[in-house]
Amino acid sequence: MDNPAKTNTMAVQLVESNEAPGGVQLVNSRRTNKQSSPMDLVELASSIQQADEFVKATAGSKLTVIADQIRYLQEQARKALKEAQRDNIIHHAACNMVKKPGTLYYMYERESGQKYMSILSPEDWGSSCPHEFVGAYKLEFDMSWTPIEEMEKRTEQFALIDRLLTSNQKSISDSATVTVLGEEKSEKS
């Protein structure tokens, strides 16, 4: 039959004992290492178990954050791919003109199913519009297309970038002036 104390030492791993710590021979290492109370080991074991659970919980919550981020990135990737696909479809729609960035184009579908791009809006056509209107898209300078519904949002984004750029530039040039002035001063003095 197994020694119960042995199982305990298996479960709770204690630091190895040394009969001559630092080269000094202990008189009786068994005495020195003897557990004062059998409960000590139980306590130790339960504290380890508790720590395990804490680690598990912390890791769990960290992983959840990562999982959320992955889900978000996946969603972003899906959106990017979808937009690329849409841009591609628009670029490849029939068009007799050379398309120019910054211009709004209108997509129509002929009876044959052919989709084509035009500079005439449904308003230009009025009631005589010969083909079904599919959508209006603005060709951006990076050759991507912005649907007319999202144009306002995109314009706002551009305005924000503009503001950031100008304020950044300003602070950069301000600090540059200060440095230059500082150097001038030090040279003079």
């Binding site: 003109m97 035009s118 056509w125």
Partner: protein, 430 residues
């Protein structure tokens, strides 16, 4: 909403520079401005124009407005608009509806936009090229006909249409056939195409012409110019003709005159210049040599059966705008330029300014005649008087440094010809 539709209004400054250069090369039109700029004989005229919206046309438009007319413009070909010229004209406030690469439906929309002017009044003069505007008004807007004093037609196809309408009793306004002024057809069809056909082929394909066999269908003025230009580059030119007189002319100029069927075996370049339809059709494409270049310089795209190519090809690839390479089911390739429409406009910049100044000075004189001499022109198809034709030519001599000899009164008496012309009888063929 601005009263124009062009591809890009920001091209206006560029267009203006081109127009300024063109003005110097268009002495006939500039002389009209000097001569009639003060008296404004076209005051009150509301001219709807439907003619290739190019730099040269811009100079015509500004001549018409300088003479007092109100003008609205569309292009008579979906690919021929020079967007910078259209932009420059739009910027001056002249309503222009034209861009390079319209669809057929947009083309008709553009023409319709030019019919009613800003004040709500409809057009009272037509300046047409090809007859689409003329037909549209006769068929769809007959209510405007009563106010229209006349129309001037630029080209052979449109003139044929006018004679056909006249024969069927459908023509309702007096018309001047500008095309058959000597200074028009004998100049832009011949000398214009002589320079712009090869320009178009070269820009589109960079093909070496020397030594190649080229076929030109039709030996009218356009065919003559085309054939001579190709020959000047060293191409060996075959001509096809239906008219024995033109066929004999071609033969006596040293061209081999044959049929399209025969030409298919050896020609690598095919140019149609007939004004007729179905010159090159289905089975003919199948028999052509590999990568044969096919183009049209006659007015309509129906000279070539482009539909057959589209319906029956295994593959169609766009090499660049206006240049399509078809793979036939046999594996052979055909290179089609400008989708079978005018190659010199689709693939090059059309006729040079100087030769267009001849045609357009005729247009201006025709508009003045019809607007100011209503009683002289009944419903029918008229030619400009020969004296005006001679006046057009005279307006272009100085720019070339030509020294004209004057008839002495003695010589004038001997010939029985007035010293100031007209110098030739109506039947003279030049």
């Amino acid at each position: 909403m601005p009263s124009y539709k062009v591809a890009d209004i920001e091209l206006a400054d560029w267009g203006r520079k081109c127009i300024e250069i063109a003005e110097n090369e268009m002495p006939g039109l500039m002389q009209m401005r000097t001569k009639y700029g003060k008296s404004k004989p076209l005051a009150g005229a509301r001219i709807a124009g439907c003619l290739h919206m190019t730099t040269q046309t811009a100079v015509l438009i500004e001549t018409l407005t300088a003479l007092g007319a109100e003008v609205q413009w569309s292009s008579c070909n979906i690919f021929s608009t020079q967007d910078f010229a259209a932009a420059a004209i739009a910027k001056t406030g002249v309503p222009v509806y034209a861009w390079k690469g319209e669809t057929d439906e947009e083309y008709m929309w553009c023409i319709e936009q030019t019919l009613v002017f800003a004040d709500g009044k409809p057009l009272n003069m037509i300046l047409d090229d090809g007859g689409d505007l003329t037909n549209l008004i006769h068929e769809r807007f007959p209510e405007y006909l009563k106010d229209i004093r006349g129309l001037s037609e630029e080209t052979t196809t449109g003139v044929h249409n006018l004679y056909r309408m006249m024969k069927n009793g459908k023509l309702k306004v007096p018309a001047i056939n500008v095309n058959d002024s000597v200074t028009k057809s004998k100049f832009d069809n011949l000398y214009g195409c002589r320079e712009s056909l090869v320009d178009g082929i070269k820009r589109a394909t960079d093909v070496m012409l020397a030594g190649k066999v080229a076929m030109v269908a039709g030996y009218g003025d356009v065919g003559k110019g085309s054939a001579h230009a190709l020959r000047a580059f060293g191409a060996r030119v075959l001509i096809t003709e239906i008219d024995p007189i033109n066929a004999l002319q071609a033969a006596m100029e040293g061209f081999e005159v044959t049929t399209v069927e025969e030409a298919l075996k050896k020609a690598r370049i095919f140019v149609t210049a007939t004004g007729c339809k179905d010159i090159i059709h289905g089975e003919m494409f199948e028999q052509m040599l590999e990568d044969a270049i096919v183009c049209n310089i006659g007015h309509f795209d129906c000279e070539l059966d482009v539909k057959w190519l589209n319906d029956n090809c295994a593959k169609k690839e766009q090499i660049k705008p206006q240049v399509d390479r078809y793979t036939l089911k046999s594996g052979r390739h055909i290179i089609l330029l400008a989708e079978g429409r005018l190659v010199n406009l689709g693939c090059a910049h059309g006729h040079p300014s100087f030769v267009m100044s001849n045609s357009f000075t005729n247009q201006v004189l025709a508009q003045i005649e019809l607007w100011t001499k209503q009683s002289d022109y009944k419903v029918g198809v008229h030619l400009l008087p020969k004296s005006l034709d001679e006046q057009v030519a005279a307006a272009h001599l100085e720019h070339l440094g030509v020294k004209l000899t004057k008839l002495s009164s003695d010589q004038s008496e001997y010939l029985g010809i007035p010293q100031e012309g007209p110098f030739k009888p109506e039947i003279y063929r030049y």
